[in-house]
């Protein structure tokens, strides 16, 4: 292109495009620096400080690890740590339920059925309305559970069988079974999308070789869904972790304005929460990968 070398545009195309690209990234860059990067650094500083608010301004005094120590030794800290532990247990129970449910629904919806759009719309509906206050209202009034659960004495059975530490989260699962399933709307769509990428002829070939639907599911469908399982699990965990009624993040907010704790302590437990979340994500993703590798070898 000769006009490229014309003296009017001395700048090389690559360089120019770099500048154009960055000019478009400018709003995001400013936003990231002001509303994310700076607050992240400051939050870390707060977590190592005593933060006092008075009418005039904010007074930050460095106190070292005192806030972190308080998180592991004070009553407010214990309450928070308990809620993190509860969250970890919640992940342990809810993530498999949500994932398996989403896969089942996705497989059902991927069949040749009439009214497919209608059913898909129903299963996605909760994503649209499931805000914290709405779910709280439903759960408080007992509309989130299947009436059968109580009638059949499932809760009594759970309380009698397990130790209290375990019985609480398990009972919680049954108590809110429906709203737990409500958290699977996006995941269902993710699984449908990857199911549609499987070539139908693979199933036909397997059928000719004598594979039944059960074998086809485990040997063709599941391997194809594997990478999406990972995506879906990460999405589910983050979704649960940042759900507004999650007790752990409630503690972070409540301690901000509590008399004996404040911004410093809240920042410290927020960071502890992040580390816990990263650990949970790391363990789960690690397990899924290890499982995938083991399966690939056999």
């Amino acid at each position: 292109m000769p006009e490229m070398r014309a003296p009017k545009k001395p700048m090389k195309r690559e360089k120019r495009m770099n500048l154009v690209g960055w000019s478009m990234l400018l709003p995001w860059t400013i936003g990231f620096l002001v509303f994310t990067f700076y607050p992240i650094l400051t939050s870390f500083r707060y977590s190592l400080s005593d933060v006092d608010l008075d009418g005039a301004g904010i007074l930050v005094t460095f106190v070292g690890l005192a806030n972190y120590r308080a998180a592991f030794s004070s009553a407010a800290g214990f309450a928070f740590l308990q809620s993190v532990l509860d969250f970890a247990l919640e992940v342990l129970f809810k993530v498999p339920i949500i994932t398996v449910f989403a896969i089942i629904i996705a497989v059902l919806l991927n069949q040749k059925i009439k009214l497919r759009g209608f059913f898909r719309a129903i299963y996605f509906l909760p994503v649209i309305i499931a805000s914290g206050p709405v779910i709280t209202q439903l759960a408080n009034q007992g509309a989130a559970t299947i009436p059968l659960v109580e009638q059949m004495g499932i809760l009594d059975f759970i309380n009698a069988t397990f130790t209290p530490a375990l019985a609480r989260p398990i009972a919680g699962v049954f108590d809110e079974l429906i709203v737990i399933l409500w958290f699977s709307g996006v995941q269902i769509l993710l699984f449908i999308a990857s199911l549609q990428k499987i070539d139908r002829s693979v199933y036909e070939a397997a059928m000719i070789d004598g594979a039944g639907p059960w074998e086809s599911f485990w040997k063709i469908t599941m391997p194809a869904l594997q990478s999406m399982v990972r995506v879906s699990v990460i999405f589910t965990i983050i979704n649960l972790a940042t759900f507004s009624e999650n007790p752990a993040i409630q503690h972070i907010k409540n301690n901000m304005f509590a008399l004996e704790t404040g911004f410093g302590f809240s920042s410290a437990i927020a960071w502890i929460y992040f580390v816990a979340l990263a650990l949970i994500l790391g363990i789960v993703v690690g397990l899924l990968s290890a499982f995938a590798r083991k399966k690939a070898r056999t």
Partner: protein, 303 residues
């Protein structure tokens, strides 16, 4: 021979790949699970139109003896519906629109230009997805306080304007995927015709990405509508959105009616809940296709 053939046919009719038994099981499962899934909503609706005598009547489980709309009237008054709805829309529609615009620009820049430091930008975007807001909301609170925008709608609108809104990272990735697969030939021919990169973005990039824009905006709208954690912190206790009013329904009820210590009955609470999900339900009813197919079409599900 005939007999065997017919037997096979009947057999296939019932048990074959598309046999009737398979169909019954399939539709049965879909409908049963669908019912269980919608159970809370159905229960909420039927309860919301019950009066007190129906509520305490053990015989009336599902169908109220009469249509009773007084609960909705109470709900409307307690929520100060009209006024609160307007404010809710201000902190929902405005940030959703701005967030969609800015994240699309960001995604476009990353998809079309080999900007230096692209990998770092991607890493940082991923970080904003993985790092919960809770970790850095306190300094944001202090910052907004110093800027004087705390307890105003700006505290929600500003971050969205600069691509740091609710789930901004997801939208940037959606647009990135979408713009990446747009054919380059159009851009090139426009460039030959003398269009500059910004014109190309506005005239070619944006129109071609209309479905991604619509889906992203809808999701952004719904997520902002349902968000309460951050908004309750930044908006404070004076500026309530509908969701926050629902959260504090009991105190709002006492405030509005002047009655203290009355525990509102569930019918009123359910009516209020329905009033609050109504706007998004209407949007969903009309735009359902764009929500459900949006996830597919925007290519988020691709590699």
């Amino acid at each position: 021979m005939m007999d065997k053939n017919r037997k096979m046919k009947i057999r296939r009719f019932f048990l074959g790949k598309n046999g009737i038994i398979g169909k019954i099981v399939l539709y049965g499962l879909l409908m049963t699970i669908g019912f269980v899934y919608l159970f809370p909503l159905i229960k909420m609706f039927t309860t919301s139109i019950m009066d007190l005598s129906d509520l305490v009547n053990p015989v009336v489980e599902w169908i109220p003896t009469k249509l009773y709309l007084e609960n909705y009237r109470t709900g409307l008054i307690v929520l100060k519906y009209g006024q609160t709805l307007l404010f809710s829309l201000a902190v929902t529609l405005v940030p959703a629109l701005l967030q969609t615009a800015v994240t699309s620009l960001t995604g476009y820049a990353l998809a079309k230009f080999r900007v230096r430091g692209r990998r770092i930008v991607f890493g940082l975007i991923l970080l904003t997805y993985l790092l919960p807001q809770q970790v850095y909301m306190i300094p944001k609170f202090v910052l907004f306080d110093q800027l004087g925008i705390l307890k105003t709608a700006w505290s929600i609108i500003f971050p969205a304007t600069f691509g740091q809104g609710l789930s901004s990272a997801i939208f940037i990735l959606i647009f990135y995927q979408f713009f990446r697969i747009q054919p380059l030939a159009l851009d090139e021919s426009a460039e030959i015709d003398g269009a500059n990169p910004y014109q190309i973005f506005l005239r070619i990039g944006v129109p071609l990405a209309a479905p991604a824009y619509l889906s992203s905006f809808l999701f952004s709208f719904v997520w902002y509508w349902n968000e309460t954690y951050i908004s309750s912190l930044f908006l404070g206790t004076d500026l309530y959105t509908l969701q926050l009013k629902l959260f504090n329904f009991q105190s709002q009820f006492n405030l509005a009616t002047g009655i203290s210590q009355t525990v509102t009955n569930e019918a009123i609470r359910y009516a209020a809940t329905i009033l609050i999900i109504l706007p998004v339900l209407v949007v969903y009813a009309v735009m359902q296709k764009w929500f459900v197919e949006g996830i597919d079409k925007t290519g988020v599900t691709g590699e």
